[in-house]
Subunit: 234 residues, 2 copies
DNA sequence: GCGGTCAAGTGGTAATACCAATTTGGTGGC
DNA sequence: GCCACCAAATTGGTATTACCACTTGACCGC
């Protein structure tokens, strides 16, 4: 089952996350009116129906209130008091994200190595490496990277961890998103990334939890450096 | 203009109600696939975008599950008009959650111990312990427990980790939520939990990352056992 | 029979147009 | 000068259409 993305990441969810971020980050306070649907669509480079779907999701969650003919307003209940729905989309900074992923995915790799008894892991690893090569040929290094980290999480056999990793990945929503492309723009960068991925995979296949953890940590440190460089280099 | 009843209520809500009715009335059992969006639109004399909006509302509520390219299926969630809002309805099992928290919060504790140079940590720890005692007196052990784990995450100085921990905490939404109260129902349980919390705090205060990690792991293992017991005893 | 391939079915997204409700500001009467 | 009223601009609501991506299953060749 090559290249079939397991999680299609439906657009309206991504949009909802971004808008949720705008709200919880204080960009729009409670009671404030956010931009018209048409403007939001233009800003986020998506169509208006998609924005509407996201807004309806947020409305069902109780985060916003839609007043016909008037606008969309941040609902009061989103603050401290009551149910504080969902994961609160505070956009963490890029380096916080990477540090968090280092800690969490390091543990994922270690757990995956422990679980690696089942033959399932071996074939997943193999398929993954093939998939990664394919995706790169198709010039989608970002998707390949995402799949790698997702698969490692899946190899832990723990649904909760998969959700966490997926969530962290999608958190890269802010204005720094574009930079992430630069991150993989030059072949040298992503071939290095591939090498590091391979090291992690080997450790998992070798049932060596400690090595897997360390490999993943190193990968994250390198990723942080690469990102930092493309950040400075602008 | 189809379906314009006297009520000016928004169309997607009316449609959602109709579909919800079809499900709860047994017309479509759990696991069944309901008609394609296009058919639903024709049947209800509305446009497909409107049907989609209704389906997204039901999806956010956890009533249905949308599988790309396949169809819309009745989700096994709460048949009653449950308000349990969540990021998508994929509730991980309780043991998956605890295992994930063990891995992640173990790293949080270790990171917190590393960061513990700043005096900030010391006072947080102290205030926290006080707060925990207070909360217990006020018979809110669950809130005290939540605060503890949140504070440890905050002590890492990493926003992303805080979000993750918060998200995992809130994920306990399913029907097993009520059990969590039993988990702390008897004084013996939560006094043990307090002891374990104190051990973690001491390790953090002592700037001992490894000990902090291990302490948190032990706490989670014990928590798992306690939960397991109250699960059986049920 | 088995496996690969392709086409039909289905959800996902976009673009556009027009309708309905609200808001706003101007204009007139008092 | 103040207030009521009306009309245009703004904004969400819905419909229509088209096309894409994924899934599924049937068909065909081996």
């Amino acid at each position: 089952m090559p290249l079939t993305s397991i999680e299609p990441r439906r657009l309206y969810r991504q949009i909802a996350e971004q808008i949720r971020g705008l709200i919880t980050s204080g960009e729009y306070a409670v009671g404030a009116r956010l931009p018209p649907e048409r403007d939001l669509a233009r800003q986020l480079r998506v169509s208006r129906p998609s924005v509407r779907e996201a807004l309806i999701a947020l409305e069902v969650e109780g985060l916003v209130e839609v007043r016909v003919g008037s606008g969309i307003y941040v609902h009061a209940a989103s603050g401290i008091g009551g149910l504080h729905v969902s994961n609160g989309g505070h956009h963490a900074g890029p380096f916080d994200l990477i540090r968090a992923r280092k800690a969490i995915e390091g543990e994922c790799a270690a757990l995956a190595a422990k679980e690696a008894k089942r033959p399932q892991i071996a074939e997943i690893a193999e398929a993954l490496q093939q998939m990664e090569a394919d995706a790169l040929k198709m010039a989608q290094p970002l998707e390949a990277d995402r799949l790698f980290h997702l698969r490692v999480a899946e190899a832990t056999n723990n649904v909760a961890l998969v959700h966490v990793v997926m969530g962290l990945w999608e958190e890269r929503g802010g204005p720094l998103f574009t930079k992430l492309h630069h991150h993989f723009d030059n072949p040298k960068s992503w071939s290095a990334a591939i090498r590091e991925h391979t090291a992690v995979l080997d450790a998992i296949r070798g049932h060596d939890p400690e090595l897997a953890r360390v490999s993943m940590h190193q990968h994250m440190d390198q990723a942080s450096k690469r990102f930092s460089k493309s950040w400075d280099g602008r």
